[in-house]
């Protein structure tokens, strides 16, 4: 992609009179030499695969390590029984974020967005939005382009993998992408999209990647929830007119700087943080001998 900053996408959108998502799609068309129909259709297929993956969730399935499974269903049932503080949109987003993370851990088909470990964030907020707001599917695909544009800028200015930049690069990026998408769906302009992204990412700066036994399970699955809920809160704030005091591109740069300073033990090696707790170490030991 030719954009190295969110500001460039905003400027280009203003200059051409296009929406943020159209600017991102136009760049893909140019980059891959495809028509707008082809580009749009490809994104639509990814969105439909997310829906399929969500529908394929199996409540009784556990991951091979038996650490993960069934939690998305628990939240869904509790929500239906009226036991939760969260309203229907937030509650269902929590449930879907868990379900997709669990799907991934249980070797089911998912859409990496941007990574497999963070695959629950976008579908959680987008599929729930489509269901509850009865949104048009094309609108959802447009929101996917918004998210993708943000993801590309983050990948160019910083990173998207836990091994490179810690969990802030995975769940943090997914959350920022989701916030931008939601701000767009709720009528936010390009500036609101960028600030939703910035405020969301700021909250997850410094989040380390410390998976127990090196598996994409603990704490990864549940962190998809914080990515989703964080995105909802800050998309709402952006739409309400709240702005980040630190410009969006500078927030992304801060994420890179923090990631580069993270010790290797906190970057997907399974050697520090939660992985290094007595229980984390015990689990790792047990799995080796199984």
């Amino acid at each position: 992609m030719s954009f190295r900053s969110l500001q460039e996408i905003i400027d280009k959108s203003e200059e051409t009179g296009r929406a943020f998502w159209e600017t991102v799609m136009a760049d893909d068309m140019n980059e891959r030499a495809v028509s707008s129909q082809e580009s749009f259709e490809k994104m639509k297929q990814l969105y439909l695969k997310m829906k399929e993956a969500n529908a394929a969730y199996e409540e009784d399935l556990l991951s091979a390590s038996k650490l993960v499974g069934g939690d998305g269903a628990k939240v869904h049932h509790a929500l239906e029984e009226g036991k939760l503080l969260s309203g229907s949109y937030v509650g269902e987003s929590i449930s879907k974020a868990l379900k997709m993370g669990e799907n991934n851990a249980c070797m089911k088909r998912i859409v990496a967005a941007p990574t497999a470990g963070s695959c629950g964030v976008l579908p959680a907020v987008l599929l729930t939005y489509e269901e509850q707001k009865e949104a048009d599917i094309d609108k959802m695909v447009e929101a996917m382009f918004v998210a993708a544009g943000i993801g590309v800028v983050i990948s160019v200015r910083a990173f998207l993998s836990g091994a490179a930049g810690g969990c802030q690069a995975e769940i943090g990026s997914a959350s920022a992408m989701a916030a931008g998408a939601l701000a767009y769906l709720q009528g936010g302009d390009a500036e609101a999209i960028a600030h939703a992204c910035a405020m969301t990412l700021k909250n997850l700066l410094g989040l380390v990647c410390d998976p127990v036994a090196g598996l994409v399970e603990v704490p990864c699955v549940k962190r998809n929830v914080v990515g989703s809920v964080n995105a909802i809160a800050y998309a709402d704030m952006a739409v309400a007119g709240v702005r980040s005091q630190i410009p969006p591109d500078e927030v992304i740069d801060a994420m890179r700087e923090i990631g580069e300073q993270l010790p290797i033990t906190l970057r997907e090696t399974g050697e520090g943080g939660l992985a290094a707790t007595p229980t984390g170490a015990e689990i790792a030991e047990r799995l080796i001998h199984e």
Binding site: M1, V24, M25, D27, D28, E31, R32, K42, M43, L46, K49, S63, A64, S65, N103, N104, A105, C106, M107, K108, R109, I110, V111, A112, A113, P114, T115, A116, G117, C119, M144, F145, A147, A148, G149, G151, V152, S155, V156, L160, S161, A163, A164, A213, G214, L215, V216, E217, G270, L287
Partner: protein, 220 residues
Amino acid sequence: MNVFDVMGPVMVGPSSSHTAGAVKIGLTARKLLQEEVQVAEVLLHGSFLATGKGHGTDIAIIAGLLGMKPDDERIPNSFRIAEESGMEFSFGGTELRHAHPNSVLLKLEGKSGKKLDIIGSSQGGGAIKIDKIDGLDANFCACYPTLIVHNVDKPGHVALVTTMLGEYSLNIATLQLYRDKRGGRAVMVIECDQEVPDEMIENLRQLEGILKVTYLSMEE
């Protein structure tokens, strides 16, 4: 970095490097063997060995060797499918020198008895590299049509091969040369912008001093 490098791939979890990349290494090895795998010895190295089991790396590699792609929902059942199709497979650990942490050595034998040794590594995000073929450096991403020519290390072989590519109007994207020793066994790894026709590969095999020609097609 393209929009669809960030969104996607559609894959079977849990890890783009330890699962999706592992499937891709297996699939690439299967394509390079150019026939069904009869016997597979899978030797895992580094992080593949340490955390591979929990990520289904073993299951994923076998799935790839059976010809499955990273989004194939049959991946979790690959062991059973392999047994049903009569593929024999075994796992072990190995210590590879100067290898990426996510590496695997595959010792394969095809249905016709054809043998192939491959070292592949998963680079992250589902991207892979084939590092060695039959003990010689190879170093390609398996993202272009790739021609691997093993030949006797004598003058003129590179010219022969590249001239032939020119005659078929095939453009070379990258070209690498390696050898085990002077006058020994040499390898050319040529990534092309277009698919190499079967006829040209057959013609190459007939040339004097050409020991082995392996081709990786990008066609489905």
